[in-house]
């Protein structure tokens, strides 16, 4: 299996499901996958919530992007790991799904998602409902074949401005074509918000490390993630990261992504970096 349900699908199996209420799932990160950004832990957990919501709403609607009020990273994934995801839905209606989520590796929690909200949009605008239902049946029964994910090519940032230890701006040239658009989404390709978040966090991490006298930093807590607009293939975004002064053990940064000519930011978040002592 290549492309569809392989290039940006991070649920291999749904092991427990109460539609609209709760679910558990798993995803094996193939040993050949290479770099697997931590933000994909949130993607895997969010995708499980999406399946639970879509099943509840009879494959009429699906959540797309949205809001994550707080994400806590407690560990980093590696190729060969199996992610065990779990979600609990607070509400699931025609306008939005609200949920909490967790991801564990080997029994240890590596991610907590708190107070996420996904606005609902017509599923048929993004995907073929019948095909999704068929794959859902696979996830609920035999599970999808493992190791079908080939990895992600990370889009490099083009530096634009840099004030060491304080801020940085960079350009992100979203590819016109990339394998993940086959999954995200077949009828309307959109650059995944979790990949955008990874790029913004990486930009901020460089500045935060400078602010910490060159010490390593780890993105521990990401708050107020909000994606306001879809980023199409081929789009150019300007990313900006500003670090707040002070903080010996933790450094706060504000992230923002803007598309040319747009009044409001495409997306934004705040990140608390832990300084590795």
């Amino acid at each position: 299996m290549t492309g569809r349900y392989a290039s940006f699908t991070f649920v291999d199996r749904i092991t427990a499901l109460e539609p609209g209420v709760a679910a558990k799932g798993s995803f094996h990160v193939p040993a050949h996958a290479g770099a697997f950004p931590s933000s994909l832990l949130a993607e895997a957990t969010g995708q499980l919530a999406a399946w639970a919501a879509v099943a509840k709403l009879d494959f009429r609607l699906r959540p797309v992007a949205g809001i994550a009020h707080e994400t806590i990273y407690l560990g980093a994934p590696r190729a060969g790991d199996t992610l065990e995801t779990q979600i609990r839905i607070d509400s699931c209606e025609d306008d939005a799904v609200a949920y909490q989520g967790w991801c564990r590796i080997g029994g240890a929690t590596v991610l907590e998602l708190h107070d996420c909200v996904g606005p609902m949009l017509p599923l048929s605008d993004f995907d073929d409902p019948a095909a999704m239902q068929a794959f859902y049946d696979v996830l609920r029964t035999t599970g999808a074949p493992l190791d079908r994910f080939a990895g992600i090519t990370i889009v490099p940032l083009v530096p634009l401005a840099h004030e060491p230890g304080r801020s940085a701006s960079a350009r992100l040239d979203v590819p016109r074509d990339a394998p993940y658009f086959a999954d995200h989404f077949p009828r309307r390709p959109v650059f995944p918000g979790t990949l955008l978040l990874d790029r913004m966090t990486t930009l901020a991490a460089g500045v935060a490390s400078e602010a910490a006298a060159g010490r390593q930093v780890f993105a521990r807590r990401v708050s107020d993630v909000k994606l306001r607009a879809f980023t199409e293939p081929g789009a150019t975004l300007t990313l900006h990261a500003a670090v707040e002064p002070g903080g010996d053990r933790a450094i706060l940064a504000t992230l923002e992504a803007r598309a040319e000519g747009q009044r409001r930011a495409v997306g934004g978040a705040r990140v608390e970096f832990e300084v590795v002592q």
Binding site: G66, H69, E93, V117, P119, K226, R264
Partner: protein, 141 residues
């Protein structure tokens, strides 16, 4: 109805509601005046309303059903008498003006599409929304 909420209660809760609005919209707190339209003046989009309602629910420990403002404004007026083919009727507009008393009168322009009702909502509208939700929660307890 909105007119039943004492202004002193609105003023008491407003600073906390304004802070929640500023956080949700990513704007400065001093921009969030009571009569500021969230869409026209503060640039809110539909996702911001979702965010705001969830934040208000958490901050004030209340449950705010989706579409509550419009449902409450319509009250006992049958839906067909409130809105026809997506446009608010004269009777519906009168209800809205009465319910959204905090919205400056010149912002109610006929014909008003149902989908444009959120353009009327001000910061004070959300303060009253929280107070009504609190009142209903207390009444149900």
């Amino acid at each position: 109805m909105a007119a039943d909420i004492p202004q002193a209660q609105v003023e008491a809760i407003f600073p906390a509601v304004a802070k929640t609005i500023a956080d949700a919209l990513g704007c400065e707190l001093d921009e969030v005046k009571p009569d500021a339209s969230l869409i026209e003046d503060l640039g809110a989009e539909s996702i911001d309303f979702l965010d705001l309602v969830f934040r208000l629910e958490r901050a004030f420990k209340v449950k705010i059903p989706r579409g509550k403002i419009i449902e409450d404004a319509r009250g006992d007026l049958p839906e067909a008498e409130f809105e026809q083919k997506g446009v608010i009727t004269d009777a519906g507009l009168a209800r809205l003006k009465q319910f959204l008393a905090e919205v400056p009168a010149d912002r109610f322009k006929a014909p008003l599409k149902a989908t444009d009702i959120p353009r009327l909502f001000t910061a004070e509208t959300f303060a009253k929304l929280v107070l009504r939700a609190r009142g209903e929660q207390a009444g149900a307890a």
